[in-house]
């Protein structure tokens, strides 16, 4: 009797796995998209990750897993942590955003007393769409969901955390840069800092895009250099609008990039005359911006003995 071909359990698992859906992200066929209801609104609870046990677990994961990986696969250097001395928490850490390494780099370079009380604002639609990604974001980054373009309501959780004395890591660009160059800042973070009367600490992360750009989930081989520069805390000037403060925040990061490229003194002089190079990248076709943005950054220190030049 010629029955149909029997499948082994492994075949069956493979067959089912073709429709596997890790959580709630829809993978409907294209013609079914119009017939697929939008995902029900849901909110992943994250408070547990900021409890004492959650913080201890995060410290363990960051120090025991994330830092060894990142610091083994890349060559980070950190500068300007002295700027945090004498600053009263809570503060808002802001940085350019071009890689998944950014949040890890900030959290693993912050002194423990700061890190233990720091939470990361993470886009709800990406980091909190499926349970396993939500749990990872909450545990490792102390992440909490923030709706992009969500208006006033989007910052409710952030305000609650600041009220509880938590520092925040915020990427005012809203998303990772596709070409390595800094994008326009959304003004929501400046408004939040003003509303909560908190200082803003600018951080420039240089080389993360070259090390692990958007689309990669592991750093490039060769331990690419990365530099993390902390700047002086910023505060809203008397009568300064949130838009103006947002531009000031953007300039502060550009100055840190300038400082990294040249020297502190030169960068300060250019900043005083408003001549700090912009971080918006070269004009021209997209490929050119990507090309320039992905250029490896210069290694510092003594060149290896077997190389003839610097």
């Amino acid at each position: 009797m010629a029955r149909s071909t029997k499948h082994s359990l492994a075949d069956e698992v493979r067959n089912v796995a073709k429709g596997w859906r890790w959580g709630r992200r829809p993978v409907a066929p294209r013609t079914a998209e119009a017939h697929t209801p939008p995902a029900e609104p849901w909110s992943f609870p994250t408070d547990w990750a900021r409890s004492p046990a959650g913080r201890a677990a995060r410290d363990l994961v960051l120090s025991g897993v994330m830092k060894p990986i990142v610091w083994n696969e890349t060559s980070p250097e950190v500068f300007g942590l002295d700027n945090l001395e004498g600053v009263q928490p809570p503060v808002m850490f802001i940085s350019n955003h071009s890689s998944h390494l950014d949040a890890t780099l900030i959290l693993t370079t912050l002194p423990p007393k700061w890190r233990n009380k720091t939470a990361t604002a993470a886009a709800k639609d990406y980091f909190f769409d499926v349970w396993w990604r939500s749990a990872f974001t909450a545990l490792v980054y102390g992440g909490f969901p923030i709706e992009r373009g969500g208006g006033e309501r989007a910052t409710d959780k952030a305000k609650e955390l600041i009220g509880d004395g938590w520092n925040l890591i915020v990427f005012p660009e809203g998303t990772r840069s596709a070409d390595g160059w800094m994008q326009r800042f959304r003004h929501g973070s400046a408004r939040l800092a003003i509303d909560m009367g908190m200082p803003v600490v600018p951080i420039a992360i240089i080389g993360a895009y070259a090390a692990m750009p958007k689309g990669r989930f592991w750093p490039k081989p060769g331990r690419p250099p990365i530099r993390v520069r902390y700047g002086r805390p910023l505060r809203q000037a008397e009568g300064q609008s949130h838009q103006a403060f947002s531009l000031r925040m953007q300039s502060a990061i550009a100055e840190l990039f300038d400082e990294d490229r040249t020297s502190w003194w030169e960068a300060r002089r250019r900043a005083a005359t408003g001549a700090t190079p912009k971080l918006s990248g070269p004009s021209g076709p997209k490929w050119r911006r990507t090309w320039e943005g992905s250029r490896d950054i210069r290694r510092r220190g003594r060149p290896p003995a077997w190389r003839s030049g610097g």
Binding site: K18, G19, P26, P29, T31
Partner: protein
């Protein structure tokens, strides 16, 4: 409100799709560009079914309220659909039970004493006591069975009434008790568009003489399709309508109660079978794996028992009562809302997975003739306007087609398969050469009346149901089918879907367009 049905076009994001194959199922990858017809989502069931029944009886369509039709001293007969619907049988309480209880309550209140209940099983097998009890509920069963609650007997000539002939010469002969009643209340479940309307009393309570005028090859060939009962589309329904009219003209008074169900076919934990595959949760995917493996590993007898115990958690979506045609019009509208999916154009190949159950193998075995009836009869005909497949196209079905028969339920099927189909598969030849012999065979008649056998002529009708498809299709291939049984049916057997497509290449070319009718739950393709 559930989502409407739609036609999926298989792309690289489409997971393998669920295909039924008798008492089994599989996930099958379809070629890119194949179309898949999905039925609408299950409509919400009526929350207060008893309340809806009471309203329907009190506010009938084109008829007086039932309460006013009931009078002391009258002769009242309540007939109801037999075990062939719904499929699978409903979880308790069956909607027939709820309606019967309301009708009987009214009759009791109005002082009706002469009340009989009849299972409208026509030439189907007699239902067993347990099966009747499941359909009508314990209270009705205890009050009426077996004296006043009986199966219809189409061969009890002393209890049949010849009503007359229609203007097309069709004989109308129905149950005597029903014909002589002051009122027949007919309780129906309209599972598919073919059911209900004038097909209830003139067919459900008829004799062989009354069924023969429309259950024949010519009528089937002119029913395109019999799932589309609009006048002029289905010769069988036109014939039934004439018979219904004759009954009306002869003074037989019928109060019709029709119900529609939603698409909740599979109970938990098999609810994933009601859902679209890309919407399966992780739990449902795991359930699929576990169920599939357990099903394959189970001994055949146990597997059969498990499948036969599946009871559908149907929700009732509509209850209409009153004059037959007025009621049926509303019933069909509700049914189409649940089952109709618009499809653009025909394709070269139609694919269907045959489920474990059809109308004639409830608590029984789906033998090869019933496979033919379900595939080429019912599922091929699940269309309006024109078939899903083009003329001369191929039909690919998934089913093991076991060479297996239920000796009590299907005795004449065994002989039909061995004696008739071994000679010819041509419906017209079969009809003219063999039908009379089987229909009048005293042993088959005895088994029909005294045992639980389908009438001797029943396998012929099963074959006729597929006459239109046999006439229309260029090739029929069964994936996983028993080669010898398939050969006897005039089909070809393939071991895999890929092989089936390869084989169909002879008929439809190397890169045919493919449409998969994703049932159950049932869908009617409205082909434009």
């Amino acid at each position: 409100m559930g989502r409407p049905g739609f036609v999926l076009e298989v792309d690289e994001r489409t997971p393998p799709l669920l295909v039924h194959e008798g008492e089994g199922f599989r996930l099958q990858k379809f070629p890119l560009g194949s179309r898949v017809i999905y039925p609408p989502d299950a409509l919400p069931g009526i929350k207060d079914v008893r309340g809806a029944i009471r309203r329907a009886l009190a506010e009938p369509h084109d008829a007086e309220p039932l309460e006013e039709l009931l009078k002391p001293g009258m002769k009242l007969t309540i007939a109801f659909d037999d075990i062939s619907i719904p499929l699978p049988p409903m979880q308790e309480p069956d909607v027939r039970q709820l309606i019967l209880e309301e009708v009987i309550e009214l009759a009791a209140a109005k002082g009706v004493e002469d009340l009989k209940l009849i299972v409208a099983n026509s030439l189907h097998r007699r239902m067993t006591g347990d099966e009747i009890k499941h359909a009508v509920g314990e209270r009705v069963f205890r009050s009426f069975y077996p004296r006043d609650l009986t199966n219809h007997d189409a061969e009890d000539h002393a209890n049949l009434t010849y009503v007359g002939t229609t203007n097309k010469g069709e004989d109308v002969e129905i149950n005597k008790r029903a014909a002589e009643s002051d009122l027949i209340v007919y309780v129906n479940i309209n599972l598919v568009a073919m059911d209900g309307g004038h097909k209830s009393v003139p067919v459900g309570l008829a004799s062989y003489r009354g069924v023969r005028p429309h259950h024949n090859v010519s009528t089937m060939l002119h029913s395109k399709s019999y799932m589309d009962p609009r006048p002029g589309h289905s010769a069988i329904h036109d014939s039934c309508a004439r018979m219904g009219q004759l009954l009306k003209d002869s003074g037989v008074r019928i109060f019709t109660i029709e119900t529609t169900l939603n698409n909740e076919v599979f109970p938990q934990p098999f609810g994933f079978m009601n859902k679209r595959e890309w919407e399966w949760s992780l739990k449902e995917q795991a359930t699929y794996l576990a169920a599939k493996k357990a099903n394959e590993m189970a001994p055949p007898k146990l597997r059969h028992q498990v499948w036969m115990r599946v009871l559908a958690p149907y929700g009732v979506t509509g209850i209409n009562a009153g004059e037959t045609e007025a009621v049926h019009e509303r019933t069909l509208a509700r049914l189409h809302q649940q089952q109709l999916t618009e499809v653009n154009g025909q394709s070269d190949v139609m694919v269907v997975g045959l489920p474990f159950i059809g109308p004639y193998n409830v608590n029984s075995i789906m033998n090869p003739i019933l496979v033919h009836c379900l595939g080429l009869g019912y599922l091929f005909n699940m269309y309006r306007n024109k078939p899903v497949v083009r003329p001369g196209g191929a039909m690919i079905m998934f089913h093991p087609v076991p060479w297996e028969f239920h000796q009590v339920h299907h005795p004449s099927y065994v002989d039909f398969f061995e004696e008739v189909l071994s000679q010819t598969t041509d419906p017209s030849t079969i009809e003219s050469k063999y039908e009379q012999q089987y229909a009048t065979d005293p042993w088959y008649i005895h088994l029909y009346r005294k045992s639980h056998a389908y009438h001797g002529v029943h396998p012929f009708y099963m074959w006729y149901w597929g006459a239109h498809a046999l006439d229309y299709l260029g090739d029929v291939i069964v994936v996983g089918g028993n080669p010898k049984a398939c050969e006897r049916l005039g089909y070809r057997a393939a071991t895999s879907f890929r092989d089936a497509l390869e084989m169909a290449g002879d008929t439809v070319g190397r890169s045919p367009s493919i449409t998969y009718l994703h049932v159950p739950p049932l869908a009617i393709a409205d082909v434009r």
